[in-house]
Amino acid sequence: MYIKREISRRGFLFQGALAAGALATRRTWAQAATPPSRTITMAIIGAGGRGRQMLPVFLNQPGVRFIAACDVVRARREWAKQQIDAFNGKADCAVYDDYRELLARKDLDALYIATGDRWHARLAIAAMRAGKDVYCEKPISLSIAEGEAVMRASELYQRVYQGGVQRRNVGNFKTAMKLAQSGRLGRVHTVHAGMAGMGRSAVNHYLPEQPLPPRADLFWDMWVGPAPMRAYNSDYVMKSAWHAEYDFHGDLSEWGSHTIDLCQLALGRELTAPTKYEPIGPEEVRAYYPDGVKMVLRRKFRDTCGIRLEGDEGWVETDDSGSVYVSDPLLLEGHTIAHEDWCRPVAHPAEFIACIRSRLQASAPADSLHMTHVACHAASVAYHLNRAMDFDLKSCAFPGHADATKLLVRSDRAPWKLEG
């Protein structure tokens, strides 16, 4: 296991208030302690589906200026440049297809990484190595080794890392977690985490080969990245068909990186993971912690990214609809649920920017997310093998199931090797 630390995630937004409130009355010290609002320069790496949704959110952050866009697909980096130039009122946004050139820029402060899953860990590490702060979309890793490497790099380079689990900062999910943490549900004994298409990327589907576009339009080798090389098909790139490919996608981590994360946070167990995984048919996996607390990974929920937290004295359930369901309306008595768009959230990116200035840890740093992803990867393997297994957290392996442990290791194709 990696370094164990308990870190408070609570209301980082208070932190800004703390700094401001505590210092506002002592001007002389405030000037030295609070950094002036210098402009933070940012770039986007990966301007596909998710990147397009979040770029406007980042652009609109006060005090942020985008200076570059990077994508191996020419059409995408040019689209991003167009957006950025229009926003800045100047046509000076640079474009790159090679992230290494982008990271060499000394005038770049921070990055928003929204590439496909296979690139998240390597890009985050490279960025932190280059002294940049990183907001990296979930999942933070496709393998346990990747997650550990991101954590090591995080600790060594001391950059701000914000994992894209924005639902941690969305009102209805915060309410549900708070209820569980407050003790009002009694002892929380079972948590449920909503899953997207389970098994969708259990195998590789290998679409028919198509003629490779020119290098200037698409750098295919880099697009594939550390995954095993395969024949090109435009659907992988332009229609997100990579979600159905084992090589490119983490299966249960699709929503698990959100829902398992929220469940673990609610239990105060974000630095650990269940140690037993039991697939129950095609739509459910049951996972258990050593003390018997149960986590149910299942498809069926009222809406997307559902979570349900059950205790001896009550339960709470919520999802992307924003509604919070409770066993007793008393549980929500006197409580106002703040509403935030889970898809284009502002609170989570805003917190990232604030942390860039204060250098304090964001609310979703790598080590807080790593074990959730270990659970995702372990659960995926158990699910794919349809086999109930124990999982050892120290060695991150399935004792007595060498074949399953092997499946936890992912491709590390040169020249995009994980060095971390």
């Binding site: 002389t28 008393l330 200035r357 304090l360």
Partner: protein, 656 residues
């Protein structure tokens, strides 16, 4: 040439950067392997090279802070003092993450050597990290720092990192004369995530009884923390001498109070005179009432007439129930008032005075298929039946029944056991009954049950279980004999402190399910709703005895007891309310807040009556009667009542 030099320098920079990175990673690997000294040496090399980019030197600095025990204090101090915000901020964050032994070792040094702003930065970072080491450091800073800004940051930090055992400390700090310190301590108290802190706070309340201003602040913190379940600890403060404390207690209980606190809240609310306090009291009662899970009602005024009795029946034969009260008829479904009679009235805005209308009993007196109204009142000393002239717009004709003397009110009863309540029992000084259609020239035949004068309050039911309905007064019950006659029996209830006096209607019901009819009754103008248990043993004279049980004696003027199964549990509930200005201010607590309540019980030995609040201090109440009827036909009983506050009022049952 310049270009070549630039290229060479860049290349060298890139190489240097790459080399430094390799050194950092090597040092980190050593650190993770537990080789602190070697790691520190590796970091030191990178740190010392000031030609390297800032972020690499920063990474090295953080590595040194983690591994170099000897230099930690000085490195940390210098870094925290740096005017470069990134430098000092990153160092602060790295320091905050250090384990306890490392932090403890440098604590004393930094407390001495760090200037205020650097300490604030450190405290901020420590507060961000929830580790025992961080908390320990914050506690020490709080004790020893000389800088006010640091103290403020540490107070909030203690809130962020602390547990229940820090609550008491923060309460003491909240007592500070410095308003900023008090405010920071308050914020800290609110931030404490340990739920056990609420219990500590609740216990602290007891220590500040003589400091009302502070007590109110503590109650406010508890309100904001909203713990639920501590209502019992807060309720005693409703009786505090200071109004500010009481207001805070109401606010806290509005959020946290449950059924056990309701009696205390009602008792205190009854004494509230200040407008603000009454408002908070009202709110607390309403919120607790909702939480108690009783039947919820939605009140709706359909008129603004200050009369005190109403009747509910289908007066226009359209299948829907209508309301009659005072001079007006309110026809369903829009319940618009239409005048059908003249009623004398001198009722003023404050409710003093009277309308000459104390009874509205729907009864088809002239057998024309339309329900008429039997009416009467104290002042006119007559009973009338008012002839339904619908569908015309004519004012209804008033026919005299008899000059009965003062009439308080009256109820429809079934005295002949034919299953139809077509007789009426007026509440007048003698005891008599009027039976409809018994023959003779007048529509009603009077049956004099007794000419003995007694207090007001009448009821009808089978007391002795012989299958015939008897008539009751507060002091006697009149056995209905097989030949139609009446035999007077005393109502032996051994009432403490004298007789019951003027009573409400008397309800006959086997409350304790022992096969013997009991009596439910209240004091019409004073305190007390009771049930009188019929005992198996008769007295020496062979008369039935009753034992008095108190249902509720905390409020006055329960002038009428409604009786209907409003929660659909198969057993009727008592529905009643405080009559408004019954005696123009002369009765006990006549100016107290109005309220409508219901009492739910399960028949059986030692029955418990659970009190629910339907409405409180909201300008509506029960006047001389409340009708429990399914007004909207949805399967649950609604309530209709009126009073000198201006009505009628329909209370729609929200069960269905």
């Amino acid at each position: 040439m310049k270009r070549i030099l630039t290229a060479l320098v860049s290349a060298w920079c890139v190489c240097a950067f790459a080399d430094a990175d390799a050194d950092l990673r090597a040092a980190h690997a050593r650190e993770r392997a537990g080789q602190k000294t070697e790691a520190a040496a590796g970091y030191a090399g990178v740190y010392a090279n000031d030609k390297l980019p800032k972020h690499q030197r920063l990474a090295a600095l953080c590595g040194l802070l983690r591994t170099d025990d000897a230099r930690r204090a000085s490195l940390g101090r210098d870094a925290l003092k740096s005017s470069d915000a990134e430098w000092s901020g990153t160092a602060a964050q790295a320091i905050a993450l250090l384990p306890a032994p490392a932090l403890d070792a440098v604590r004393a040094t930094w407390l001495k050597e760090l200037p205020g702003d650097a300490q604030v930065k450190l405290v901020t970072a420590l507060a961000h990290v929830k580790s025992p080491a961080a908390k320990g450091y914050i506690q020490e800073i709080l004790k020893k720092t000389a800088f006010p800004a640091v103290r403020l940051a540490a107070l909030e930090g203690l809130g962020r990192t602390g547990g229940a055992d820090d609550a008491k400390r923060l309460v003491i700090w909240m007592h500070s004369e410095d308003p900023e310190v008090a405010a920071a301590a308050r914020r800290g108290l609110i931030l404490l995530t340990d739920a056990r802190a609420n219990r500590v706070l609740a216990d602290e309340l007891k220590n500040y009884g003589k400091d009302p201003a502070f007590l109110a602040k503590l109650l406010d913190v508890l309100t904001v923390r909203n713990p639920l379940g501590l209502g019992g600890a807060i309720a005693p403060f409703l009786a505090h001498a200071d109004a500010g404390v009481r207001v805070q207690a109401y606010k806290a209980l509005a959020l946290q109070g449950m059924a056990p606190e309701m009696p205390a809240v009602l008792a205190a609310a009854g004494k509230a005179t200040d407008k603000k306090e009454r408002k908070e009291a009202r709110r607390a009662v309403a919120r607790i009432a909702r939480r108690m899970g009783g039947v919820q009602f939605k009140a709706r005024r359909i008129g603004n007439c200050r009369t005190e009795a109403c009747g509910v029946a289908d007066f226009n034969n359209d299948g829907k129930l209508d309301v009659i009260a005072g001079p007006y008829l309110y026809l369903a479904p829009d319940f618009k008032a239409r005048k059908v009679r003249e009623v004398k009235s001198d009722v003023k805005e404050d409710g003093k005075g009277y309308a000459h209308d104390f009874m509205n009993l729907p009864l088809d007196v002239n057998a024309d298929g339309k329900l008429d109204v039997v009416s009467g009142n104290w002042f006119s000393k007559e009973t009338w039946w008012i002839e339904n002239l619908l569908p015309t717009d004519a004012i209804w004709t008033q026919h005299l029944i008899e000059q009965t003397g003062n009439i308080e009110t009256g109820i429809l009863v079934d005295i002949d056991g034919d299953g139809k309540a077509t007789d009426f029992l007026p509440d007048t000084q003698i005891t008599c009954l009027y039976q409809l259609g018994k023959g003779g020239p007048a529509p009603f035949t009077r049956d004099s049950v007794s000419n003995d004068r007694c207090d007001m309050g009448r009821g009808c039911g089978d007391v002795n279980g012989d299958g015939r309905n008897d008539v009751l007064t507060p002091v006697a019950w009149y056995e209905h004999l097989a030949d139609g006659g009446w035999k007077k029996h005393p109502l032996n209830i051994g009432f403490q402190g004298g007789k019951l006096g003027h009573a409400s209607n008397l309800i006959v019901f086997d409350v304790n399910k022992d096969g013997l009819a009991d009596i439910i009754v209240s004091s019409a103008h004073k305190y007390g709703i009771f049930w009188w248990e019929q005992l198996k043993e008769r007295d020496a004279a062979g008369e039935i005895q009753f034992r008095k049980h108190v249902i509720d004696d905390t409020w006055t003027q329960a002038h009428y007891l409604g009786w209907g199964d409003i929660d659909n549990d198969g057993v009727p509930e008592i529905v009643t309310g405080k009559r408004f200005m019954a005696h123009n201010g002369g009765d006990p607590d006549e100016y107290g807040p109005l309220g409508i309540y219901y009492y739910d019980f399960t028949p059986g030995p030692n029955p418990v009556f659970k009190k629910y609040v339907i409405s409180y201090d909201s300008d509506i109440s029960v006047g001389l009667n409340v009708e429990c009827v399914d007004l909207d036909g949805d399967g649950d009983l609604d309530l209709v009542t009126t009073g000198k506050y201006g009505g009628p009022v329909i209370l729609e049952n929200k069960l269905k």
